[in-house]
């Protein structure tokens, strides 16, 4: 895990709003980067640290919602807090569906925003941790032979060695060796542990 301090990105076309938000967020000890347009933000470097975006729905050129889409497409999964001066229901629904953590209307209540930011950062920390775990499991998974990769879903689906052998048209003894190797390579303490890993790797069980 990185030790870099959490950073809040603020995107609002109104410089005075950016300035005010920067002041507010800095007052609670967080790093703030402000941008007045989406391309500026996209071109900027982002530190490897828990972060979130405070995003105005109305932005010139590329709107907040468009940016949200763009980020999702680029697999940049930063939590988004939408702020708007004139929020309407369809817009907020769309934003929330697209994964926004919060939808706040201006003028903002300082505590609401700060809470939302803390929540988002927390969410990002979790997301980042989860992502780190998945990444570790994926590299372990990569060590498995094709046959072991075939056996894994059958193990996590709770099948007995005999059943697996019959499924794969091999001997029970061979399946037993594969099971031991998969558990070892995946550094799983038990089959239950392996089942949790498979879930994280989004490997479907053979039965389901």
């Amino acid at each position: 895990m990185s030790t870099a301090p959490p950073t809040v990105f603020v995107l609002d076309d109104e410089p005075s709003v950016c300035a005010a938000l920067r002041r507010l967020i800095r007052s609670v000890g967080l790093n703030v980067n402000t941008f007045t347009s989406a391309p500026d933000f996209l071109q900027a470097e982002r530190p490897d640290a828990p972060s979130c975006i405070v995003l105005d729905v109305r932005l010139p050129g590329l709107s907040g919602l468009d940016l949200q889409e763009t980020l999702a497409k680029s697999d940049i999964d930063i939590p988004v807090i939408f702020i708007t001066g004139y929020g309407d229901i369809p817009m907020s629904v769309r934003a929330m569906k697209a994964g926004a953590v919060e939808f706040l209307t201006k003028p903002l209540k300082d505590q609401d925003l700060l809470d939302a930011i803390q929540n988002a950062l927390q969410k990002d920390r979790i997301r980042r941790a989860h992502r780190a775990e998945v990444s570790r499991l994926q590299s372990l998974h990569g060590l498995l032979t094709p046959r072991e990769k075939e056996v894994l879903p059958l193990i996590v689906s709770g099948m007995l060695n005999k059943q697996i052998a019959s499924e794969l048209a091999t001997s029970e003894k061979t399946v037993k060796v594969h099971r031991a190797r998969v558990l070892h390579k995946m550094q799983a303490k038990s089959v239950a542990d392996l089942v949790r890993m498979a879930e994280k790797l989004a490997i479907p069980s053979a039965k389901s």
Partner: protein
């Protein structure tokens, strides 16, 4: 030549001669004078000259005094008491005889037809001097005899001196024995070449051959006197027409002692007579009914045409003053008579139109009869001459014209417009019923009045008069032939708006003007009401337009408010800490103030756009107007992802107009452009606004979009009210925008761009400092 001879010669002269003695009494007269006064020459003797003429006695005696004094021919003129004051020229010759008293000296008066009044007389001065010298040497008795002799001598000298007549004497055989100046002048021979010659030398050969000379002398000897008019031959061989009076001279015993001959060259008279004859025949046969009247109004001549037309004979026409009136139409008689006699009595002549019956078919035809007076050199009325012209066809045309005029008049009178005509002097010549109604003057009152003082308010009168004069001088009339609105004045002084069209027509040499006027008070009222309604409609439309912008505007206001609130929160947080960062606090507070001001600005702008007020015109910078509207729509533009470019030069002249209404137009055009680009995804959404000076001199603004453009069917209709392509549109935007621009004297139109989208243009007249 004896006194008797001379007396005879005088008696034989065709011209009347009077010898006036003391007190201007006639002491001698020749037969011609007797004839002139319709009496015998003997009866004239003893009568005062005054009794023979009608002229002022003072004038007569003045004239005779002059004659006595000068001994020269004194031209003069008298009106004879006979035959209607017949004017007569005369030559008075004085200085005859005398007992040393000029007052009593004799005067010869030659009474002449007027045209020969200026025949020169020989001067007698020299002779008179000789006479006086001789007289001095004589005794009283001798004086008496001398007097007679002198008289004889005088007469002889008179005869010799007469230059206008050839007067000479012949012996009984016809040989010339005396020869006067007139004879020398007439025939061209000096005395020495003719004395002793036979008088036949003056006759043409053919007359001589026929024995004319002998016959003439025979008849003179027999009758005592002959008169002939024949050709005579001058020395140079040329011939002349001569009047010759030959008088036989006999001594007291009756023996023929010779002949006196008085020859007058009639060539001129003959020529004049011929001319006169020609003129008379011209007059008689001229293709017009011509006639002459005596000063009393009695016709004394009528041309053939008149006689043929009327069927009257000349005798009948001349028989009575009213004979010609027999062919007058009964309806015209009274009037014609009145006009005729008024003209005759006043001496001024007359002009009348009357119908006369045509003898050939009994039809009455209109004639224009005009008689003009003829005066002699001294202003005396001699005659009336005149013509009667058949004007029946003209009259008929005139009648038709009059009917058509009458019809026109009915049309004009029943016209809904006031029709007023004016002459070049600015006087009213026509005034119809409607003019009576709207201006309060009746036709009778108005016609003849000065137009400017009748219907034009005093403050415009000078301009009217100056304009009229300028038009008459230069032919330029800026108000002519176009419809203008101006103030008129009612008889009661009330001013009211009128619509006026003036046309100028040249009638002959003079200009005439006709004006069609309409009271537009009601229309003005309606227009004002309409304007109020339009302004209200524009305002409502503006509210709707601004309503469309609500989201954007709310955002515009909300943004600074958001900054204010957040900054305020920051301040509170900083202040609640132990060691507040003062620098940070100061900046936050400054930002609060800035943002608050900005929010206030937005609100003012919106309020200005929404306030209900009467249109106010002021000089405005078009660029400023556009920038302010863009500030309001910035958020709308950005949320619709439209990028804006402007080209608004600051050096353009300003325009005169109402800020709110013009901004409404600009707002409308911008929102339309945004709308037009809403569905565009394959190219940038660009709004370009620029201003420039149009070639007409107006200020032109153009709003370009890169949108879908009009479909061809709706292009013509986009300016119609209630036409809209928007689901929620009222369809009033462009219609109202256009009426706003047109009310500002400009134009608004649309034009498709060569590539994409549409350009909306509008022009406005530039504001000039000068008062129009």
């Amino acid at each position: 030549m004896t006194f008797l001879d001379l007396t005879r010669i005088i008696n034989g002269l065709p011209e009347p001669m009077l010898l006036l003695g003391a007190e201007s009494t006639v002491v001698g007269a020749n037969p011609a004078a007797g004839r002139l006064f319709a009496t015998s020459s003997r009866d004239l003797v003893g009568r005062p000259f005054n009794s023979l003429v009608t002229d002022e006695p003072e004038r007569i005696s003045q004239y005779l005094r002059l004659c006595r004094r000068t001994s020269q021919g004194v031209p003069g003129g008298f009106h004879l008491r006979t035959s209607n004051d017949e004017p007569m020229a005369c030559k008075g010759v004085g200085g005859l005889a005398g007992k040393g008293d000029r007052q009593d000296s004799l005067v010869w008066l030659r009474l002449l037809p007027r045209e020969s009044a200026n025949i020169p007389f020989q001067a007698f001065n020299e002779h008179r001097r000789t006479l006086i010298e001789t007289r001095k040497a004589n005794t009283e008795r001798e004086k008496a005899r001398e007097a007679l002799h002198e008289s004889e001598e005088r007469f002889r000298r008179i005869i010799e001196g007469v230059a206008d007549y050839a007067i000479f004497m012949l012996d009984p055989s016809g040989r010339i024995v005396t020869w006067n100046v007139g004879a020398e002048r007439t025939y061209g021979y000096p005395a020495r070449e003719v004395l002793g010659q036979h008088f036949s030398m003056f006759y043409p050969q053919e007359d001589i051959d026929q024995g004319a000379c002998e016959q003439m002398l025979d008849s003179a000897a027999t009758l005592g006197r002959t008169e002939e008019e024949t050709w005579r031959v001058r020395k140079d061989g040329s011939r002349f027409w001569a009047n010759a009076v030959t008088t036989a001279i006999r001594d007291p015993a009756g023996t023929l002692v010779g002949f006196s001959r008085v020859i007058r060259d009639l060539t001129e008279r003959k020529r004049a007579e011929q001319l006169l004859q020609l003129q008379a025949s011209v007059l008689r046969y001229m293709p017009a009914a011509a006639w002459t009247l005596t000063p009393d109004g009695v016709p004394d001549f009528a041309s053939e045409q008149w006689l043929a037309y009327s069927g009257q004979t000349l005798e009948y026409v001349c028989s009575a003053p009213d004979a010609w009136m027999a062919v007058l139409h009964a309806d015209d008689r009274d009037r014609a008579e009145r006009v005729y006699w008024t003209g005759i009595r006043s001496g001024a002549g007359f002009t009348m139109e009357a119908r006369f019956r045509r003898a050939s078919d009994g039809v009455y035809r209109w004639h224009l009869s005009r008689g003009v007076p003829l005066h002699d050199a001294e202003g005396r009325l001699v005659k009336f001459v005149g013509t009667s012209t058949d004007i029946d066809d003209l009259k008929r045309t005139e009648q038709e014209l009059r009917t058509s005029e009458k019809r026109t008049r009915v049309i004009v009178d029943t016209a809904l417009d006031a029709v007023v005509t004016m002459d070049a002097d600015g006087m009213i010549t026509g005034w119809n019923t409607q003019a009576e109604k709207i201006f309060g003057w009746t036709s009778g009152q108005a016609v003849g009045r000065r137009l400017s003082h009748t219907i034009i308010p005093s403050k415009y009168r000078d301009a009217h008069e100056i304009g009229l004069r300028r038009f008459l001088r230069t032919g330029e009339g800026p108000v002519l032939n176009k419809r203008i609105e101006i103030a008129g004045q009612h008889r009661d002084g009330r001013e009211f708006p009128i619509e006026l069209t003036v046309t100028a027509v040249k009638l002959g040499e003079r200009w005439a003007f006709s004006a069609f006027l309409r009271d537009i008070t009601e229309r003005r009222r309606a227009e004002e009401a309409l304007q109020t309604m339009q302004a209200e409609l524009a305002r409502v439309s503006r509210l709707c337009t601004v309503g469309e912008l609500t989201a954007s505007i709310a955002h515009e206001i909300n943004q600074p408010l958001a900054a204010v609130v957040t900054n305020a929160d920051v301040c509170r947080r900083l202040l609640s800490g132990d060691a507040p960062d003062l620098h940070e606090l100061r900046e936050a507070v400054a930002d609060i103030a800035d943002a608050g001001t900005r929010a206030g600005d937005v609100i003012s702008r919106i309020r200005a756009l929404l306030k209900k007020s009467h249109p106010e015109t002021a000089p405005l910078d078009l660029g400023d107007l556009v920038r302010e509207v863009l500030a309001l729509t910035r958020s709308e533009l950005s949320s619709k992802r439209v990028s804006v470019q402007t080209d608004l030069p600051s050096a353009l002249p300003r325009v005169l107009g109402d800020r709110v209404q013009l901004q409404q137009v600009i707002l409308n055009l911008i929102l339309n452009a945004i709308e037009a680009m809403a569905d565009i995804t394959d190219r940038p959404r660009v709004l370009l606004i620029r201003s420039q000076i149009h070639q007409s001199g107006d200020i032109q603004a153009a709003v370009l979009d890169s949108g879908a453009g009009f479909d061809p069917q709706s292009q013509d209709r986009v300016f119609d009210a209630f036409f809209t392509t928007k689901p929620n549109g009222m369809g009033m935007g462009l219609s109202i925008s256009r009426s706003i621009i047109e009310a500002h004297g400009g134009r608004l139109w649309a034009s498709p761009n060569p590539d994409f989208g549409v350009t909306m243009y509008f022009t406005l007249p530039p504001y000039t400092q000068s008062v129009p």
